[in-house]
């Protein structure tokens, strides 16, 4: 039985919360937390209360950019099965209110981060929102199949913002975490695009499978997976990931490469391998960052 969807006048706060893309927000909170703990482990410090507020500001900033993305993409969200149930296509939130909501939260989150931590972190949060909304959503998404490659920078920045919130700088270690998420984005989203190809084609979004074809996308997924697994061991090489991290990174990296190989060698039009890679890529990223988090927390506990 389908439930009646309330109109914008009758909708409660739920649809506004959905505009913030809570699932993406939870990933941002997690990767930012890892960046913060790694910065503390590296010797920087910030009052725990201020760190919590900074983390919340980063999460709200990410949510705000999600709301602005949904405002801009409402027309294509309407025709894609994956996004048709979002609040604007459903008529639960008027587009103008989504834009206002996103802009307000963007301003508040950047201001709050500046207040709770420092201007470097606030700058990187503002840049992240700008990059996701203007560079990715408004410019790249509908014009080039490299949309998610370049646009992936926005999703990769939260650990950098978080590291800067604690230390006031964005050192090379923070950019290594950035590189891992940046290189993770193409295999993750192209695996999704391989089995949702029709969705993107209907919406006129030039995803790699629609533009370059399945075979080329599979080759590129495999190439990016090799680069990702190499970047995945970089924290160990750079000295801020220990042996437990190396073990997790190697084991999950081997799994990712195996699935990427299966995508590469799967029969044409077969979707199963792409679905498996998409699901495993989420686990891969989570495992790497969780390993780093556990190691850093253990190290801080042992030091205390």
């Amino acid at each position: 039985m389908s439930q009646a969807v309330p109109t914008s006048a009758a909708a409660g706060p739920g649809p506004y919360f959905a505009l913030l893309k809570p699932r993406v927000m939870s990933l941002v909170i997690f990767t930012a937390l890892v960046g913060m703990v790694a910065a503390v482990e590296a010797g920087a410090s910030l009052h725990p209360g201020l760190a919590v507020v900074s983390l919340a500001a980063i999460a709200v900033g990410a949510g705000a950019s999600g709301a602005l993305n949904m405002w801009w993409d409402a027309d294509i969200d309407r025709v894609m099965a994956r996004t048709a149930t979002r609040p604007i296509p459903q008529g639960q939130v008027p587009p103008s209110e989504a834009a206002g909501f996103g802009l307000l939260l963007s301003g508040l989150s950047v201001a709050l981060l500046a207040l709770a931590s420092n201007y470097v972190a606030a700058f990187w949060l503002a840049f992240t929102i700008f990059f996701y909304v203007v560079v990715y959503s408004m410019w790249l998404k509908r014009t080039t199949p490299q949309n998610i490659v370049i646009g992936g920078a926005a999703g990769a920045l939260p650990p950098v913002v978080a590291w800067a919130a604690i230390s006031g700088t964005a050192p090379v270690e923070a950019w290594i975490l950035f590189a891992i998420i940046f290189l993770w984005t193409p295999p993750h989203f192209w695996a999704l695009a391989l089995y949702r190809e029709g969705d993107y084609a209907r919406a006129g979004v030039p995803m790699m499978p629609n533009v370059a074809g399945e075979a080329s996308t599979r080759r590129q997924i495999f190439a990016y997976s090799i680069a990702l697994v190499a970047a995945g061991v970089a924290p160990f090489a750079a000295g801020f990931g220990g042996y437990a991290y190396l073990a997790a990174s190697s084991a999950f990296g081997a799994g990712l490469l195996m699935l990427a190989w299966r995508v590469l060698t799967a029969p044409a039009r077969s979707k199963d391998a792409a679905k498996q890679l998409f699901a495993f890529s989420i686990l891969y990223l989570f495992a790497l960052f969780a390993a780093l988090l556990v190691e850093d927390l253990w190290s801080l506990y042992a030091r205390a």
Binding site: P6, T7, A9, A10, A11, G12, P13, Y16, H47, G49, L50, V53, A56, L108, L112, L115, A116
Partner: protein, 50 residues
């Protein structure tokens, strides 16, 4: 021109009240957060005044 929406139904009223409560809660939370951040930033210096 579009006809104005009917604002008198119980569902519309309920939705509006829920949204208003959430806005009020958000504002209070923001004010308290800024207050707490200010106190934490001042830290021990709060006692260091002439």
């Amino acid at each position: 021109m579009r006809a104005p929406e009917d604002n008198s139904t119980p569902d519309v009223e309920k939705g509006r009240k829920a949204r208003s409560r959430m806005i009020a809660l958000g504002l209070i939370l923001f004010i308290l957060t800024v207050y707490a951040v200010t106190i934490l930033r001042i830290g021990g210096n709060i006692w260091d005044r002439p």
